[in-house]
Symmetry: C2
Subunit: 201 residues, 2 copies
Amino acid sequence: MTTQRLTRKGQATRDRIVTAAARLMIEQGVARTTIEDIQAAAGVSPSQLYHYFPGKDALVSAVIEQQTAQVLEIQHSGLGSLDTIDSLTNWRDLMVGILTGMQCAGGCPLGSLASDLSESDPVARVQLAGAFEQWEGLIRDGLVRMRERGELAADADPADLAVAMLAAVQGGLLLSQVRRDPAPLRIAVDTMIDHLHALTR
Amino acid sequence: MTTQRLTRKGQATRDRIVTAAARLMIEQGVARTTIEDIQAAAGVSPSQLYHYFPGKDALVSAVIEQQTAQVLEIQHSGLGSLDTIDSLTNWRDLMVGILTGMQCAGGCPLGSLASDLSESDPVARVQLAGAFEQWEGLIRDGLVRMRERGELAADADPADLAVAMLAAVQGGLLLSQVRRDPAPLRIAVDTMIDHLHALTR
């Protein structure tokens, strides 16, 4: 069922189900989350849930889609386009602030789903790989613009630097999650910003 | 039951159970792994398994202990002490080689367990935080020695750089896992080595 066909009320119900599923799947893992848990958390009947989602796979896919949109929204929201050292520093502050607000629980929603599903669900793995590619693309585009303006050395490689920055974010979030301390995320991203700064002319 | 009390045969049986449990838990996640799966994979009877492990929590703890030892062993094995740019480059090659040999499946065993268990198992989370601290300590010790020998700038911070390097490894492994491509791990660690190189005097 495409979302285009839904009434506004139907869309709101569908969104409520996806939001409840996302919270449970990211918090406790996909395998530990039952359809019944999601029904209860979303406050919908079994027939309502099955009206929108024929099964757990469809819910997983909708959760990845929703979380991807939210993560990419954070890149855009008021941060401009990540194409100056200042905007990257603001982006770091935003991520650290969100993490601190969550007491460092949960990690990156996309990273948690990727670790959870990469070996057990090939379809979800491909969908998540696409999400990370989009995210990396936003970082890369900003670095390309910095290089075009002469703010990054001509021989700096925006593609590789974007991969390294996304890895710093993912690894930093995982270490922050396991230690319940925002420091690893802050330090990992700061080190990459220092590295870019050293390449800035 | 402490491992000291076991006979050699008993130790071998216990090791076989832990190895089977580790493979299943890392591949398919802890929640998807049943005691029956582990019994079947290890080729032991229920009473044999329960003789060594009273339940799944004890198995999870033994798996984390085994995987921590294996990861730290990789740091040590023939790589010297990660205290030169060359030894860091060899370490990167070793990790990329292991990952490529596994067709990029599975990710980092400790990272996968951390993502899987951080929200659902507080005891495992603390045990994993300790494992990452030991790993980070090995990286930090090498950077401290580099700084002492004057190979790293006096104002470089080995503690922060070790956090950033471990984050690069974890994030790189996750991106490599989800993309089934060793490039993200290689690029993330290479970027950190480039950064250290720029700080090398």
